[in-house]
């Protein structure tokens, strides 16, 4: 499955904040459920989600089981230079996800 959907404004003004939005496919299994056979479903949530802007960390979240499936993050970053936003996340099963979005600063 496509792992994420990202929305970043096509152009950002230098020195001003621009909006970043990302929706990630993940079941965010809480660990509190049983399956149809009554067996415990182990917890599997995204543990950490972070975003780097041209290598510099600008946003990070320690995610817990209180967050719904397919989490959606929205935050603002101050535009400095044109470049890339690198998103990275890892879940309890150790599965890593990553995505990249280009930023154009004018």
């Amino acid at each position: 499955m496509a792992d994420s959907r990202i929305s970043v404004a096509p152009e950002a003004r230098r020195g001003e904040p621009f909006e970043v939005r990302i929706s990630i496919r993940h079941p965010m299994e809480t660990g509190y459920r049983t399956n149809e056979s009554g067996e415990h479903v182990p917890r599997n949530v995204i543990r950490r989600f972070s975003c780097r802007y041209n290598g510099t960390p600008v946003f990070a979240v320690r995610v817990t089981s209180g967050i719904a499936a397919n989490p959606y993050f929205r935050f603002f970053v101050t535009a400095r230079e044109s470049g890339a936003l690198d998103f990275e996340w890892v879940d309890d099963a150790g599965v890593r996800g990553e995505a990249r979005a280009e930023v154009k600063v004018v």
């Binding site: 499955m1 959907r5 929706s23 496919r25 959606y72």
Partner: protein
């Protein structure tokens, strides 16, 4: 003596196709999508193509559409879905001439896989099938529902109509009692909708995932403690066709968002 002709006339009226295609269950100006019964938060998620998690499945469906792993991809025959699939979902469920029966969009996709791609059918409610269904349905977003109940589809439509008005389950309720007679009223914390399927496949917050209209119908049947037909059962397709006829003219919202 004189009572018989009346009884026979009444029986004849019941058994003849009693609902002409142009007639409607709900007048056009009374038709209301489930979206109108949803809160502003749910409407906001549906309206935003990034926040709407249903698009994660649409994106995946777009990849599957072009995936030729089995030899032929969907695109090998149908080309660009934005052109070839535009309006298609609005006409489903539809008659499959070679099978001689009405099938829904999921069954259509599976039939294509088996007949033309030499692939195995995808399981109902699997992410793969939901993704392809959502991608195809998305090509008709905003277009009015216009399923045909003519010709050989008529029998399926009539079966669906009977199911819709028949009481089921321990609660002894029919679909019509809630969605025809009581829409707009409250059921616990919910407002009862008119029961249209125009948002499906839809992301239901309760499910935390995308689901088909059949899954939604089964959830209703569970609610009234009725026996649930298996996913893909012909009764569910009949109901889907009746619902599509009932919702004719409502714009397709797939991938919709519902509580």
């Amino acid at each position: 003596m004189s009572r018989w002709p009346i009884a026979l006339a009444a029986a004849a009226a019941l058994s003849s196709p009693s609902v002409p295609a142009q007639q409607r269950a709900l007048p056009v100006d009374a038709l209301r999508s489930g979206l109108e019964f949803a809160g502003s938060d749910v409407r906001g998620i549906q309206a935003d193509d990034v926040a709407n998690p249903g698009f994660l499945w649409v994106d995946r469906g777009e990849k599957s559409w072009r995936d030729a792993a089995g030899g032929k991809s969907c695109a090998s025959c149908h080309g660009d879905a934005a052109a070839s699939m535009r309006g298609v979902a609005a006409h489903y469920p539809a008659l499959d001439p070679s099978a001689g029966q009405v099938i829904d969009l999921e069954a259509r996709i599976n039939a294509c896989r088996v007949r033309h791609q030499g692939a195995k059918p995808l399981a109902r409610e699997s992410d793969e099938l939901l993704a392809l269904t959502a991608y195809v349905a998305y090509q008709s977003r905003g277009m009015p529902i216009a399923a045909s109940i003519d010709g050989a589809a008529r029998a399926s439509f009539e079966r669906g109509r009977v199911l819709y008005v028949t009481r089921h389950g321990q609660m002894n309720l029919s679909c019509a009692q809630c969605h025809e007679g009581s829409w707009g009223k409250r059921l616990y914390a919910e407002t009862i909708s008119q029961g249209h399927g125009n948002a499906f496949p839809a992301y239901r917050l309760e499910w935390q995932t995308l689901g088909s209209l059949q899954r939604r119908i089964r959830a209703c049947l569970f609610g009234i403690r009725a026996e649930m037909p298996r996913p893909g059962a012909p009764e569910l397709t009949d109901l889907e066709l009746y619902l599509a006829w009932r919702a004719q003219g409502l714009p397709l919202e797939a991938p919709g968002v519902r509580r």
